[in-house]
Symmetry: none
Subunit: 225 residues, 4 copies
DNA sequence: GATGAATGAGCATTCATTCAT
DNA sequence: TATGAATGAATGCTCATTCAT
């Protein structure tokens, strides 16, 4: 229970150590994990505290109440994303690259996050609690979803200008269609894969990416040669 | 408050007895609406009862406890779907129709449900609560998702056999990719559209269908003429 | 613990009896006793419930929260007093009686209440919590203190008009001076007499009334004969 | 927040060390103000500390716990009163003065305190919390009320011996009757005047004193000339 | 079948108190 | 001496569940 200090020397003071800088983050991590796993209402602050290695009351030193903790969790994940992708797309991706490649790089980047970081779980969480906490949903939409979609739209419009993507596609709607498989797989991972082994087979990542790319590039209809 | 029926004649036992058989269904409807709107934990049985026009205690005459009611709600929506689509696909759709058209008819049918019936809200609900109630998630997966996906898979395989769909596509994965936009739009409708007017614009249904079809058929890359 | 039913016959249903009409009053009585004894904050709802023979949660069937219960207690004592005294003074006391006698009858009446009913304890309670619950203090002032003082003022003015009471006295201020001993004794009974036997001797009721009357009638200075 | 003293010269160690001895008194002042204003239970030690310019924990360097602080506050006000008045009455008031004048000087002196120093608020506090802290009530009674009443009693007895005050008055009871208006007005100031502007009009100090004196001297019944 | 009064376990929140620094 | 992070017991309040009628 008590972290063992395997340093041979002075046996540094353990219990009740002043961790005033680390605490908030530890609490956020614990809270995020539980909120994502169980949802807002089913998460007891006592469990959050226990997981963070403190007692219930300690939480209130850092967050006014449960809702504030919840909001902080959402914002913590939102914050580092702001602008990050935009910069990446501008600087990290050759602007003369083929439009589809630019799009694909972006989707791969997001897939990485959605499938292998808490962001995926958070997306589920936000959707589940959206109607209970409208402001939070609004914030998430405005700061995450909207900018993200805008980014895709720009790539699509660029591709259309270059004559590579069909002009008939409406960028806004297409952007949502294009990312749908990412979000969907992420949600299924968070929901069914955990509880249902059958589901997880069907979500094999490699296969997913291969088919996703194929379908996205060329659609269902076979090209005539 | 309650309209009194003080008619001297036959004194038809309306209000009271009329509903005896309807009670369970009324409770289910009320519960579904609230579960979908607020989630499992945030739904109080007292509110369910009030909406159904009965008292809290009455619920327990029909359902063992809150979880049983929840399960019944999920199953109630699942039940009528079982086999229905399968039959429809066999009988209602010309088997000699073009594979893409068969697929498209199926997707339109599901879109109708997801966008305009409680099924959409239920999908959100199930995902949100999946980790809290694994058995329910399993049931939903086995009875709804799995058969549905199997249906799409068959259409895809059929299209491949006829040489219309690319043989390179793995049917299982492709099925999920193909329906992702439907589920995604449904989830967004349930989550963000309610609270964020900006979001709802971007989800215009007609535009959605047009672009969905276009993208699905031909993909992003322009066909050479 | 369980009240024994010493009736020889049918052993009437005891536990969980429907007392829907009696409950609120039982709760109010219990609450009043504890609020008066311990003050607002020091009174735990669990104790109120226990004294009323129910559990904590039951209180919330009748009162929204602790404050509502508190307010109800105050109002319950206030309510029956409204207008009662006024009527009594008009009807019950001969209007041709000597002004001092009319005043004295009124004071005796109030003394009876303050010394031998919960009203005395309530006065202490209201004063102690006035700054914490200003609205309650206002209500108490407007409904109890103000009308009561107005009553005394009228008697005084009447006495002045008849040339019995000195015209130099300002009725409003005199009214307060006249009742001060009543309130004071009541407060001391609630505060010190309970905890300090020495104090209680000094508050002997008969002696109090005799000296009160003497002092009030004739003042400290001996009358020259 | 805290004004920085960046003077280059002697750098007098003001803020920090200046107060070392003042701390307990500062804490007492802060505590008294809050106890009087809000009552015992509603006063949070954190607020006391904040008002005294220290941290919560610091309080415990000087007082064992909340109750000790409370007791200290009561005693702090009691202490300076002990014997003070007695001496004043002996030395400061001509012993050959008219008995009523001696009494009146004493009452004026007390009125000054009750109306214009924290003593008034403290009286309310003590009464409100008497049943919660019997020992404190006892101390207050023995050290403040009892000596004070004894003082008045002596003046009264003296007046009776000189044939100025009616022999029929019982000194102990009369003493309490005589001071009642002072205490009453003080209590009303602490309770209602703060929250109710109507109440404060009725408590005008000059008018109070004039009528108090008149009533006390001569009573309600007009003297025959 | 239906009611609704009553229950009691459970949770968020507060705050006096402690203690390592 | 002073700090302030941490504690934990206490308490108001909620709500699923029960049961006598």
């Amino acid at each position: 229970m008590e972290a063992v200090t395997n340093e041979g020397e002075a046996a540094p003071p353990k219990r009740r150590r002043r961790r005033k800088e680390a605490r908030p983050q530890e609490l956020l991590d614990a809270a995020m994990a539980l909120f994502i796993e169980r949802g807002y209402a089913a998460t007891r602050l006592e469990d959050v505290a226990k997981r963070a290695g403190v007692v219930k009351g300690t939480i209130y030193l850092y967050y006014a109440d449960k809702l504030a903790l919840f909001t902080a969790v959402v914002e913590q994940v939102i914050a580092p994303l702001l602008g990050e992708d935009e910069q990446w797309l501008t600087e990290g991706v050759p602007s003369d690259a083929a439009p589809f490649d630019r799009l694909w790089l972006l989707l791969e980047r997001w897939g990485e996050r959605l499938f292998h970081t808490p962001l995926g779980g958070l997306a589920k969480l936000v959707m589940a609690e959206a109607s209970n906490f409208p402001e939070m949903a609004t914030v998430y939409h405005d700061r995450v979803i909207h900018p993200a979609m805008a980014l895709v739209e720009r790539v699509i419009i660029d591709g259309q200008k270059r004559g590579v993507f069909p002009a008939a596609l409406q960028p806004k709607a297409t952007a949502r269609l294009v990312v749908a498989p990412l979000l969907q797989r992420s949600l299924w991972l968070s929901s069914f894969a955990v509880v249902c082994s059958e589901a997880s087979e069907a979500l094999d990542e490699e296969v997913f990416w291969a088919n996703y790319r194929l379908l996205l590039r060329e659609g269902l209809l076979r090209r005539m040669v």
